[in-house]
């Protein structure tokens, strides 16, 4: 196991969620969520499937609408005001389980589209930024290819670079390694670890417990749409308090 990263966490609040509730139809998917994330924090969210962990981070950039409570991202409250939503989305990067690259655009175009049209950055400058981040995720040589020509791990790294090109202050990861072949998981996790070292605020839904131990400064366990337990990774893994957490950990670490 790699060494635990020692990283600064500032007192400044990046995300504040207060008694937030969400329903899908009549199904109560998120119940009274309270969560405060400081700038520079790396949070891993885990829990059984259907526990609402993906929905929680999708609420943070308004891909899902919450019905009650408050979500404040970077000092802006998420309401149905489309201007606020667009602003928050351009500050918050997101990586999906299935990458969701744009198949009709080249890798470089995938990375420059939003900076050019949302940030209004000149094309040349946007391309330089894109190349910088593609080098950071170690695939600058693929810039002119199309997503369909890349392996899953490479596509996910492009997706990370695409988000970074918007220079986000917060990154959300929704099971970024779940759709990958085992030998490609490491290259994506390495990229994410590097990102953490740069001090990025990250919320990551994942079942990679090694990653959680190494990078996270807080692990959140969710079940039935509520936060059941949160703690520092050492405490969380070695000394879980709730029975649900114990059961979950025994199931995923059982063999």
């Amino acid at each position: 196991m790699a060494e635990k990263l020692k990283l600064e966490v500032s007192d400044e609040i990046a995300i504040k969620i207060q008694s937030m509730n969400k329903w899908f139809g009549s199904f109560h998917v998120l119940r009274d969520i309270d969560l405060t994330v400081n700038r520079g924090e790396r949070i891993v969210v885990c829990g059984p499937s259907g526990s609402g962990k993906s929905t929680l981070i999708r609420c943070i950039n308004a891909l899902e609408e919450h019905q009650s409570g408050q979500i404040i991202v970077d000092g802006t409250e998420l309401t149905s005001d489309i201007k606020n939503i667009d602003r928050i989305r351009s500050e918050v990067g997101m990586c999906f389980q299935h990458f969701n690259l744009f198949p009709h655009l080249s890798i470089l175009e995938n990375c420059t589209l939003a900076p050019i049209w949302v940030r209004k950055i000149p094309k040349k400058e946007a391309e330089e930024t894109a190349m910088h981040f593609l080098e950071k995720v170690k695939i600058p040589e693929q810039a002119d290819k199309y997503p369909g020509q890349l392996s899953g791990g490479q596509q996910q790294r492009v997706a990370i670079a695409r988000s970074l090109c918007m220079r986000p202050r917060i990154m959300l990861f929704d099971e970024p390694t779940s759709a990958l072949d085992p030998e490609m998981i490491k290259e994506v996790l390495d990229t994410m670890i590097e990102l953490a070292e740069d001090g990025m605020t990250m919320i990551c839904v994942t079942h990679e417990m090694g990653f959680a131990r190494q990078v996270a400064n807080r692990v959140i366990f969710m079940d039935d749409g509520q936060i059941v337990e949160q703690n520092e990774p050492e405490q969380f893994f070695n000394n879980p308090q709730s029975d649900r957490t114990k059961l979950f950990l025994s199931q995923i670490l059982g063999h």
Binding site: F102, A114, G148
Partner: protein, 427 residues
């Protein structure tokens, strides 16, 4: 280990050709024509049918008379032999192409408009051509109107300037508010058109071509005119309807749904009769909306409703992840539609859009039923009913079919080429 299991090859085997029955033409014939007794019988029957048709048609075609004044002269020349009377195509060629009322001294105008149409469409159809050519494509509709209908060029110039003013106003104000920008550009354009109208009236003879009324248009020119305009207008309208149908705003959504379902539920012929007869009742009594314009509106609506459904299929084929990814990097609705969703959805929709549009092009012949003299209308009306060419069916309708086939087949080939060009998501 037993002796039988050990083996060492002394000489390598060189390559040999497959048996005679398994290569080249023999193999192809055996597999495709005579693979079973039933297929062999079918092959012989097909060969016999093809042979009979060829034997009947070839002499008819080769004996064809190209130079005669009337159908009787044709039969005299044929002298009892089987033969076609292509002379009708020769003699009535201008009528088939331009209709019987378009002044023959002005044929160069539609000809020029058609040549320029190809120039104007080229940069839209082929992405490799320089983008500056699109400026000509934008000017072309106004130029074509002047060429085909005649009158002063100022009418077209004024209409173009009005549109240009609208676009400039929209660009200037669109960053503030979409609705404000649309409103201002509409007002500005209309103000200009009113002013422009006076200027045009004062200089009505400036660079003026002989005016040709809409009822004087005819022949294949009319089919091409209706088909091209209806298809060009209905694609953007169809896309808008498809997006409207997906809209989260209930009023817009229901307007689109009702429009699409209503138009799709009514035969085109009915809509054309409405255009011809009933639509006039809806306008104030002293206004007369041009018949071609009325027909065009109906054809555009009809085609747009079908294209909307094709595009909806393309939109539905995209994964939800594409919408979410576009949202998550901060693109607004217009940007995500323009850069992410529509390019992919339209690519999927190409075969469907082309299918519907080729159908529309052919359906322009239905206007012959509301007594417009398009290619088919000319054949059925003035040509076949004239005493000179009474009864020359095969040659005329065969020619009409050939003309439509050439146009529609080219469109279909282009669409297949375009699909291959846009294939980036496959290895």
């Amino acid at each position: 280990m037993s002796e039988n299991n050990s083996f060492v090859r002394k000489e390598m085997i060189s390559e040999r050709i497959p048996p005679a029955a398994d290569r080249g033409l023999v193999k192809w014939v055996r597999e495709n024509l005579f693979s079973s007794a039933f297929n062999a019988i079918m092959t012989f029957i097909s060969l016999w049918v093809i042979y009979s048709i060829t034997v009947a048609v070839i002499p008819w075609f080769l004996n064809g008379v190209w130079d005669a004044k009337t159908v009787r002269e044709c039969y005299d020349l044929l002298d009892g032999k089987s033969g076609a009377c292509f002379a009708v195509l020769n003699e009535r060629f201008p009528q088939l192409i331009y209709g019987f009322k378009y002044p023959s001294s002005e044929y160069w105008r539609p000809n020029l408009a058609t040549v320029l149409l190809i120039v104007a469409l080229a940069p839209i159809l082929f992405r490799r051509l320089p983008r500056q050519l699109l400026i000509f494509s934008a000017v072309y509709p106004f130029l074509a109107f002047w060429l085909i209908w005649g009158g002063s060029i100022l009418t077209s110039v004024s209409a173009f300037l009005g549109c240009a003013i609208a676009v400039i106003c929209y660009r200037r104000f669109s960053s503030r508010s979409f609705a404000l920008a649309v409103l201002i550009s509409l007002i500005a354009a209309n103000v200009w058109w009113i002013i422009g109208g006076y200027i045009v009236d004062l200089n009505a003879s400036f660079l003026s071509l002989e005016v040709v009324a809409s009822r004087d248009m005819g022949g294949f020119m009319l089919n091409l005119l209706l088909g091209t305009i209806a298809v060009c207008l209905s694609i953007p309208l169809g896309i808008a309807l498809a997006l409207g149908r997906q809209s989260g705003m209930p009023i817009i959504k229901w307007i689109c749904v009702v429009f699409i379902e209503f138009i799709r539920g009514v035969p085109l012929i009915t809509l054309l009769f409405v255009a011809n007869v009933i639509l006039a009742f809806f306008f104030p009594p002293d206004t007369s909306i041009d018949l071609i314009l009325r027909v065009l509106i109906m054809m555009t609506f009809f085609n747009a409703a079908y294209i909307a459904e094709v595009v909806r299929g393309g939109l539905a084929a995209l994964s939800k992840g594409q919408y979410e990814a576009a949202d998550s990097i901060g693109l607004d609705y217009t940007q995500s539609m323009r850069f992410i969703i529509l390019p992919q959805a339209l690519k999927i929709s190409i075969p469907g859009i082309v299918n519907v549009s080729v159908g529309m092009l052919k359906d322009t012949t239905l206007v012959s039923i509301i007594s417009m003299f398009d290619l088919v209308g000319m054949i059925r009306g003035p040509i076949l009913s004239s005493t000179d060419w009474n009864g020359v069916y095969w040659e005329l309708f065969g020619a009409a079919a050939a003309i439509f086939f050439v146009v529609c087949f080219s469109v279909s080939k282009y669409s297949q080429w375009l699909e291959r060009q846009l294939e980036t998501d496959k290895r």
